[in-house]
């Protein structure tokens, strides 16, 4: 009974915190929720315009390719950079009230995830509309096309777990070692170029491919490219490397958080 109440409260609290994150972000912004979609579109247009001259990606539509990769990447990078200093920013609350602290990080990630899903649904709508009206897909072709999108579910789950695990790890360490925040800011910037968002993996020399798969984001972005645009996954067996890495990082991040959590009050 008590345990059930506790779990219920944990869930309610997480929902309320996530709601707060979503509401507070666009309060008093005239364009409000429009920013969810405006931001990646502008990014896509500018990057697409510049990079199409440098990166000879062999896909029909480089702009769509960019967009399909930028959405998950933005979710990941924004969640990580925002949640890393989160415990430090919420020190007032942590030092003065007892509540499930992981919800600080989780609410940031889930509110970003909500925004990401909205943008993703709009992209899917645009893709299906394109196939229907401009490429005159028949019904069977369309069913095939849409059923491939079911691959989005494993991709989303992997992305979510990876982001949560890594963010719990960095945000917990940042309580004591404030350099972590700066390291992450730099790392995310470099990480972007180590992930096939603006380029495709098959443009690189073949011996480099396995190294790129040590980066779980490579696998995740390729899964998105596959599900949304039907591009093949370069090394299909290496998906398991990412799955194992992500489970490991999630577990590790959770353990570090559990261990450091009891000492947060002493270091903030």
């Amino acid at each position: 009974m008590f345990l059930k109440n506790k779990r219920r409260h944990w869930f309610d609290f997480l929902v309320a915190m996530t709601e707060k994150e979503i509401k507070a972000r666009y309060k008093r912004a005239t364009f409000g929720f429009l920013w969810i979609i405006l931001n990646p579109i502008l990014q896509m247009v500018v990057m697409g315009f510049v990079f199409q001259f440098f990166v000879p990606v062999s896909v029909d539509n480089y702009f769509l390719y960019l967009f399909a990769g930028l959405l998950p990447w933005n979710f990941f990078s924004q969640s990580l950079t925002k949640s890393t200093p989160a415990f430090f920013y919420e020190r007032n609350l942590i030092k003065k009230a007892k509540f499930p602290r992981e919800s600080i990080v989780l609410s940031i990630i889930f509110s970003n995830f909500f925004h990401f899903l909205v943008a993703l649904l709009l992209l899917i709508g645009a893709l299906i509309g394109d196939k229907l009206f401009f490429e005159n897909y028949g019904l069977i072709q369309l069913v095939f096309y849409v059923s491939r999108m079911l691959w989005l579910f494993p991709a989303l789950i992997l992305l979510l777990f990876f982001t949560i695990g890594l963010s719990l790890f960095t945000s917990s360490l940042n309580v004591r070692f404030r350099d972590i925040n700066f390291i992450i800011q730099l790392a995310v910037m470099l990480w972007f170029y180590a992930t096939p968002v603006i380029y495709a993996l098959n443009l690189l020399p073949e011996f480099l491919w396995p190294i790129f798969y040590l980066n779980p984001m490579t696998t995740i972005i390729e899964l998105f490219h596959f599900a949304l645009m039907g591009l093949p996954i370069t090394l299909i067996n290496f998906i398991w490397v990412a799955v194992i890495l992500i489970i490991g990082i999630f577990y590790f991040g959770y353990r570090v958080f559990k261990k450091e959590n009891v000492n947060f009050d002493d270091w903030l």
Partner: protein, 236 residues
């Protein structure tokens, strides 16, 4: 060694049930001065130095029974707030055991869980959840909370439009409507205007006669004498 000097003012009928039980609780803080923790750690390892330590609490043993009203006072730095934080489980003891029974609500800062851009209503829900209420409870008590805080039409206005007094009143109002089994109050009795102080005094008096276990921290011993049946002076 942390020393407790105790004095019982009024005898209440003791229910016998121990709701807070601290056994050999100690709390150590590590002093870091101005250097970043990473440099300090590396330095220490290179020079084989020990960490600089500070014991805020040493071997504290404390049993509090259900319904007792404790007044806690002592010099600055004696460990009053540390003790409250350990009971509330905001902080964890370096050694020793902490056992508590029931819902604990700690008011170390009344406005800690508020967000300036959200409305009063949204903040009531958020803060209520922060201190451990369920959604249904907050919904049931919603009108009472607003009435007691006396914020009127401001309930739909964002919190940054509130005066400091209004924020404190709202925080206090949420806390007393949360039906705690154990209530920890840190220097919060001297806030708000005269009207509100009178109102909170009434609430405190009412609490004296019910089952809520109360720990009140204040420098004003006269205050404590009014509301408490057991005074504890804490010192090094």
């Amino acid at each position: 060694m942390t020393v407790f000097k105790e004095k019982t003012l009024r005898n209440r009928k003791k229910s016998g049930e121990v709701v807070i039980n601290l056994t050999d609780v100690s709390k150590k803080y590590i002093i870091t001065h101005d250097k970043p923790t990473l440099i300090e750690d590396v330095n220490r390892i290179l020079r084989f130095e020990k960490k600089e330590e500070y014991w805020a609490l040493e071997n504290v043993n404390l049993k509090i029974h259900k319904g007792e009203k404790i007044g806690l006072f002592g010099a600055n730095g004696a460990g009053k707030t540390t003790l409250l934080k350990i009971i509330a489980r905001i902080s964890s003891p370096t050694s020793g055991k902490v056992q508590t029974k029931g819902r604990i609500i700690s008011l170390i800062d009344l406005a800690a869980g508020f967000h300036p851009d959200l409305t009063g209503q949204e903040n009531i829900f958020l803060n209520g959840l922060v201190i451990g209420m369920s959604r249904e409870e907050i919904r049931d008590k919603f009108n009472q909370i607003i009435d007691f805080a006396g914020i009127g039409d401001f309930v739909t206005a964002p919190l940054y439009t509130y005066s400091n007094g209004m924020k404190l009143r709202l925080g206090f109002s949420i806390a007393i409507h949360a039906k705690p089994n154990i209530l920890l109050l840190d220097e919060v009795m001297s806030m708000g205007d005269r009207d509100f102080q009178e109102k909170s005094r009434q609430v405190m008096k009412k609490m004296f006669n019910n089952d809520v276990t109360l720990i009140l921290v204040s420098h004003f011993v006269d205050h404590l004498k009014k509301y408490c049946n057991r005074l504890i002076e804490i010192s090094k």
